[in-house]
């Protein structure tokens, strides 16, 4: 296809992507270099019969003027990146100097908002992915043995958790595990502890979120494994059968090696998708004990008084950095695939 024709075909989609994916990333970066305007303060003298007092007040007019001149705020360089709410270099240095043991230092660092969020995000990613792969594989194997007439219905049932948006999915589960919901109440009866609530302790909340993550992501792993199972070559299976291999041995030594590349791929996609975990935190009302990087951005943008564009931009950039880290193996894989295709 000549360059000219190609250009016209690709133009609309390229334009959409550049304007609404490329530019926002650049815009986020610029925002992250700026910080909100300072409020102009002025001294006001209040006099009453008992004497005069001076108060410091916000000069609304002057503040608004600065705001209108400089809507993005003032330039701050990489200041936002290193402040307390992000990488917190000063706080870490201080903690390093003032603590005697590693445990103490770790406690302080992991209580800084950014590191707290990073810890949750990574824990979520790495706790959800392995069970998803194992469970997805088992369900796929299991569905694969069913009679054809049943398969359609069961596949439909299996993929439901993936189809609903994470917010709705987490709400549906949240209502059940609520201390007044069916599962929550049953657990209370089971452990004979009327105050037991999955929402009460931070560990239990994390576990709940992780279980939700597994519930939501397993169908994806299932579908991919299920499709891949159809491509397992029959000849080696037959040969192994003749040689007397048991069913388990056939799965272990023929099917699993065949699905190995698929499994790594599911793992990468899962890690990448879960790195942006955000909606379940809202759905489970778990903001108090579990914050993720994406949730931090949302919070900055939802700020009641003023949207913190600088802070949100900085967190966004750091999140993208994390994604880039996870994305590299996927890119390398795609690169290789392309090379072999040509």
């Amino acid at each position: 296809m000549p360059h000219r024709t190609f250009f016209w075909f690709i133009l609309p989609t390229a334009l959409a992507m550049i304007l609404f994916i490329g530019l926002p990333i650049v815009s986020s970066f610029f925002q992250s270099l700026h910080i909100e305007n300072e409020q102009v303060l002025m001294e006001v003298e209040n006099c009453d019969p008992f004497g005069c007092t001076t108060n410091v007040r916000v000069d609304v007019e002057a503040t608004e003027k600065i705001e209108a001149e400089n809507p993005l705020g003032r330039f701050n360089g990489f200041g936002t990146y290193t402040d307390r709410n992000h990488l917190a270099f000063d706080e870490i240095r201080e903690a390093w100097d003032n603590t005697s043991s590693i445990g103490e230092f770790k406690d302080i660092v992991l209580n800084l908002p950014f590191y707290k969020a990073l810890l949750f995000t990574l824990t979520f990613c790495f706790a959800v992915t392995p069970p998803v792969i194992v469970l997805g594989f088992i369900v796929a194997l299991s569905v694969n043995t069913l009679a054809k007439s049943l398969k359609g219905l069961i596949v439909f049932g299996t993929i439901l958790p993936m189809i609903v948006t994470p917010l709705i999915g987490s709400l549906v589960l949240f209502w059940m595990i609520d201390s007044q919901g069916i599962i929550g109440a049953s657990i209370q009866i089971l452990f004979d502890d009327p105050n037991l609530s999955l929402k009460a302790s931070s560990n239990l909340t994390w576990i709940t979120l992780i279980i939700y993550g597994i519930w939501h992501n397993t169908p994806f792993a299932f579908v991919v494994f299920y499709a891949a199972l159809q491509t397992v070559p029959q000849d080696p299976l037959e040969a192994a059968y003749i040689d007397g291999a048991t069913r388990f041995e056939r799965v272990r030594f023929i099917v699993i090696p065949h699905l190995y590349p698929v499994a790594t791929f599911i793992m990468l996609i899962c890690l990448m998708d879960n790195f942006r975990v955000f909606e379940p935190i809202i759905g489970f009302s778990a903001e108090g004990v579990a914050q993720s990087l994406s949730w931090m951005i949302y919070q900055d943008l939802r700020n009641e008084n003023k949207m913190l564009f600088g802070s949100a931009g900085a967190t966004s950039m750091l999140t993208i950095l994390g994604i880039a880290f996870l994305l590299t193996p996927v890119l390398i894989r795609t690169w290789k695939e392309f090379k072999t295709e040509r």
Binding site: T13, V172, F275
Partner: protein
């Protein structure tokens, strides 16, 4: 031979059936429970005294005079303006699907037919774009959108969702067009068609299976989106998902909680029905998408 290999012993069949039943319970039961509970009052669905009230509708009977009630549905659709949110979702979904397919088919066709090296780089960039968390993009949108005064309205959200959706659509349709034999449109070109004519008269009639799959994914993205719609729309223009979240935020009175429950049912039911019909396409797309990113 195949028959002997694939013959299962009784034990395997039993264990397998139990496992499948167990799995189906986990994946389906929460939805059935929510559907059932949406016809009760809050005191039953979240029953402090006894969870079996949710089954029998004990308080529902006391409060409304029957064991099932449509109160939550009626109120959320009238007072809660859920109808408006549904309308908005429909507008957004239909627009996003049609625009994104229009842009996507053109782009993906060109990518699949060009032999130059830059196609590879375009696809890699699309892959990188697809991995971007939506919330980081939203943080980039808000400021310029406020400045341009286009925040809060549906068209902005539609175009943003189309753009966010493009990378995946491009990859999906690209791998689909790769399977359409080149000879088909090449012969049209030899006969004197322009590339656009070849696309219009030769490719368009055979591209529907791929387009249905891509359309299904665009639909799911637009229908399910929370991050973009919650932050880019004003309250008045909310689509269903942010609306449900808004019901939860306002806890002035207990009824709102049941509004959210009934709205979850209203929002999920159509989606499940669509997926029921297009299950095959969904799975083929997931597999292609999974292999290609």
């Amino acid at each position: 031979m195949n028959q002997t290999i694939n013959k299962y012993s009784k034990q395997i069949i039993i264990v397998n059936s139990i496992f499948i039943l167990f799995w189906l319970t986990i994946s389906i039961f929460p939805f059935i429970w929510t559907l059932w509970g949406s016809f009760k009052v809050k005191a039953d669905f979240f029953s402090r005294a006894d969870w079996t009230y949710a089954l029998s509708g004990f308080n529902t009977l006391i409060e409304t005079g029957a064991t099932t009630t449509f109160k939550a549905y009626l109120e959320s659709w009238t007072e809660g303006e859920f109808g408006r949110a549904t309308m908005n979702t429909m507008i957004v979904t239909v627009s996003v699907v049609s625009i994104s397919l229009f842009l996507g088919t053109l782009g993906a066709y060109a990518l699949s037919r060009s032999t130059f090296k830059y196609t590879f780089y375009i696809l890699i960039i699309a892959l990188i774009f697809r991995a971007m968390p939506h919330i980081t993009l939203v943080s980039g949108y808000l400021f310029p959108f406020f400045q341009l005064n286009i925040w809060g309205i549906l068209p902005t959200t539609i175009i943003v969702l189309v753009a966010i959706n493009q990378p995946f659509t491009l990859w999906l349709l690209y791998s689909f067009f790769k399977t359409v034999p080149k000879e088909l449109d090449e012969s049209a070109l030899i006969d004197g068609c322009s590339y656009f004519q070849a696309f219009r008269y030769i490719i368009m009639p055979v591209m529907w299976p791929g387009v249905v799959t891509a359309g299904l994914f665009s639909m799911m993205l637009a229908y399910n989106d929370f991050t973009v719609t919650a932050l880019l729309l004003n309250q008045h223009n909310y689509t269903m998902v942010p609306k449900i979240n808004a019901y939860l935020g306002t806890v002035e009175y207990g009824g709102n909680y049941m509004w959210a429950v009934s709205s979850v049912v209203s929002a999920t039911a159509p989606l499940f029905m669509i997926i029921w019909f297009f299950q095959r396409q969904l799975i083929s797309g997931l597999t292609a998408g999974a292999v290609k990113g």
